[in-house]
């Protein structure tokens, strides 16, 4: 291979994952079928380590059941559920492989030293493969080991599935169907452990359901960096505990609820709210900061019940912060803007409909002299919406900007930029590197009477230097928002918009990852996705044709905006594509 010559190739080399291009392969047999697997594979931190039997089985298409193993956590090997029967090539005294009569290497199954008729299984999660190894994930001995392990894990389990929040997404349930027995052979009294333990402000622990896999302990110690949990007492009385009640309180605690393979750790916010099998799952993004964690929105009948992280190794791995996860309730607020509004002469805003409002806005904008309009957009809007607003701004000669929103970041996922799409606002040309730099100029333009029309999307500009007395000097104030605020109260035209969970679109995160999100729930009342009515407005004002589908709109944006060049909606996939910023 020649050295990378073009800047593009250099960039690709710099952003490529850490795996070497020429990975050494090992031939092994899984369930009688020969497969070639890499000798080394990324461990939980992404560092290369010898490939484990569990990883090799996954490559071969065999899922080895497991509880304590998690691809993003250090291997503990304590649940024993992934025990498998295996064999290795037999070596003769001359250190040469012993051959069968047909010339193939003889494979000796691992057995107990003094009991050669009994299989000696190995835990697939922590045992590296070796050349010529044979793994038997479906053999009778493997199944027997799984059944025994599962039975032992269930000995003290309360089997209260009917009232357990984990029911429906519980590994204990799933494996019981596959590897369990219909009747328990346990006749003794079950050990009773603490119930409904207040582990932290967002977490409740049921110690009786716990199978002591230690995923939560490893997560909080090794990922969140808060060594808050441990196992106290011994033997059958082992329990997960924090030092003080309620002490498990970092910004990532709810991830332990996701990775808990059973119903031991439950979210105070979600528990007893909804049976998981009733919920619709929609792939979406978290909007609480510029990281853009990939999420799954769980909803039923147009109500959102929870956010859960969705794996994207380029962004958030399997995690998200508690703040972002719980920041969904505003979407269902009762005071959402549900009606279009028009300000009558001398009185307040009265309810209207889309045809009236869009006609009024279009006529106002069409008549507005070049340069007499300004646009304050929001970096919480999608790339497509900002793109349409920019087209409108170009036609109107409008000054544009969006509102910066910064706060504290952390070592893991929380970004200092609290807008989900600051880079989208920059790439579409709505805002500049220093976001908000034009806001004083807009205020000045309104004060001087140069700016007569102001378009505001998703921001309460009275909190950002455009106070109500200044807004009163405008001829026309066009506002689109989701929740009422001081700016919406002053609007001449009010256009109710949608939360991200109610529409489709894309955001560009702080690192330039362009990611799409899907619609989970219907918007309340007459509220419509902003890109839909912006498309109509843009057509009415500029006379240009556009696309009435999000796919077409995105592809048009990619063709016209240099920052998004080469992108296609269909090629974004579920985890997005990174652009240079």
């Amino acid at each position: 291979m020649s050295a990378p010559a073009t800047t593009e190739a250099k960039l690709a080399a710099a952003t490529a994952p850490a795996s070497p291009p020429l990975a050494e392969k090992i031939k092994i047999k899984v369930d009688g079928r020969e497969v070639e697997v890499p000798k080394m594979m990324p461990n939980w931190q992404g560092k290369l380590e010898p490939t484990t039997m569990l990883q090799a089985c996954q490559i071969a298409g065999h899922e080895v059941p497991h509880y304590c193993y998690h691809p993003k956590l250090p291997v503990a090997g304590n649940c024993r559920m992934c025990l498998v029967e295996f064999g290795t090539p037999q070596m003769g005294p001359d250190r040469k492989p012993v051959l069968n009569q047909d010339g193939t290497p003889k494979v000796a199954k691992a057995v107990l030293p003094y009991e050669p008729s009994t299989c000696r299984g190995a835990i697939a999660c922590a045992t590296p493969i070796s050349p010529g190894m044979e793994i038997y994930p479906n053999s009778a001995a493997t199944k027997q080991m799984r059944e025994a392990v599962l039975e032992s894990l269930l000995i003290n389990h309360p089997l209260d599935c009917s009232i357990c929040d984990q029911a429906g997404e519980c590994k204990l349930q799933e494996y019981s169907v596959e590897h369990g027995q219909s009747q328990s052979s346990f006749v003794e009294a079950k050990v009773h452990k603490p119930k409904a333990v207040d582990l932290g402000p967002r977490i409740v622990l049921d110690d009786e359901r716990c199978i002591l896999c230690t995923r939560c302990i490893r997560f909080t110690k090794d990922i969140a960096g808060d060594d808050a949990l441990g196992i106290v007492n011994r033997g059958s009385y082992n329990t997960i505990a924090a030092w003080k009640p309620g002490a498990f309180d970092n910004n990532y605690t709810l991830n332990t609820v996701d990775i808990c393979p059973v119903g031991a750790l439950t979210s105070k916010d979600f528990r007893f709210q909804m049976r998981v099998w009733f919920m619709k799952e929609t792939k979406s993004l978290c909007t609480s900061c510029g990281t853009g964690c990939n999420i799954i929105v769980g909803s039923r009948e147009e109500k959102i019940y929870r956010y859960e992280p969705r794996q994207n190794d380029a962004v958030n791995a399997c995690w998200m912060c508690d703040h972002g996860r719980l920041n969904y309730k505003w979407i269902g607020r009762g005071d959402r803007l549900k009606k279009c509004g028009v300000r009558g002469a001398g009185c307040g805003v009265t309810d209207s409909d889309w045809s009236t409002v869009l006609k009024g806005v279009s006529e106002t904008l069409a008549k507005a002299p070049h340069g007499s309009t300004a646009i304050v957009a929001s970096a919480r809007q999608t790339n497509e919406e900002l793109f349409l607003l920019k087209k409108l701004a170009t036609k109107l000669g409008a000054l544009t900007d969006s509102v910066p929103r910064t706060g504290q970041g952390d070592h893991l996922l929380v970004d200092e930029d609290k807008n989900p799409n600051s880079n989208g606002a920059r790439l579409t040309g709505i805002a500049f590197t220093e976001m908000g730099i034009n806001l004083p100029k807009i205020a000045e333009g309104i004060a001087a009477g140069r700016i007569k029309t102001l378009i505001v999307f998703g921001e309460d500009v009275t909190r950002h230097g455009l106070d109500p007395s200044l807004l009163a000097r405008l001829d026309t104030l066009i506002v689109s928002d989701i929740l009422p605020n001081r700016t919406t109260a002053l609007a001449h035209y009010l256009l109710p918009g949608c939360a991200h969970a109610e529409k489709r679109g894309t955001f560009t995160n702080t690192k330039g990852r362009v990611q799409k999100f899907m619609k989970a729930v219907e918007a309340p009342g007459d509220a419509r996705p902003e890109w839909e009515f912006l498309h109509e407005l843009m057509h009415n004002v500029t006379g240009q044709n556009g696309f009435s589908t999000i796919e077409g709109l995105f592809n048009q944006m990619a063709a016209e905006v240099p920052g998004f060049a080469g992108l296609e909606w269909a090629k974004l996939g579920e985890t997005g594509v990174t652009v240079q910023i």
Binding site: D227, A228, G230, I231, V232, R234, A241, A242, W243
Partner: protein, 163 residues
């Protein structure tokens, strides 16, 4: 805070830490020393140990709850350990412990060590005290008592009450 480790003990423990490749390895020795000094391991002692060794309290608490030799409550002045392993069990150690409990007003059905409300006695079952030939055996504070009869038990209780 009433919890205070004497300067001499703290100096000894600081020196002890230097014997180990990592500070954490000294955890058990710290706990033994603190229990010897205070009689039991209080929550303050756990926090103090964690602070000294650069650990979280839960890391130390795991050890304290794992080992039965560590006490989280103060002991009685007379500490009665009754052996319950095979030889003693055959020689009536269960009855002996029940006898102690009923004499002292303790609940013989409780599993864990029990201390009388006046703080004079603690009674518990322990595993083998390595004197099987003299079953049933009792370890009274630091003294090993062979072939303890109910009458001998009554003497122990009577003597303990005077302490």
């Amino acid at each position: 805070m009433s919890f205070a480790v004497p300067a001499t003990l703290e100096a000894q423990l600081d020196e002890l830490v230097t014997h180990y490749p990592q500070k954490r390895s000294a955890s058990l020795m710290f706990l033994h020393a603190l229990q010897e000094h205070f009689g039991y391991i209080s929550r303050d002692a756990v926090e103090w140990t964690a602070r000294k060794l650069g650990l979280q309290p839960i890391n130390v608490y795991e050890l304290v709850t794992f080992y039965p030799m560590f006490r989280q409550e103060p002991l009685g002045k007379t500490h009665i350990k009754v052996c319950r392993t095979l030889s003693c069990a055959l020689a009536g150690s269960s009855e002996l412990r029940t006898h102690f409990c009923s004499k002292l007003g303790l609940d013989a059905h409780k599993h864990a060590p029990q201390t009388t409300p006046d703080g004079k006695f603690t009674v518990e079952f322990v595993e083998c005290l390595a004197d099987c030939g003299n079953a049933p055996v009792v370890l009274l504070n630091e003294d090993l008592l062979p072939k303890v009869t109910p009458a001998r038990a009554d003497e122990i209780v009577a003597k303990g009450k005077l302490k």
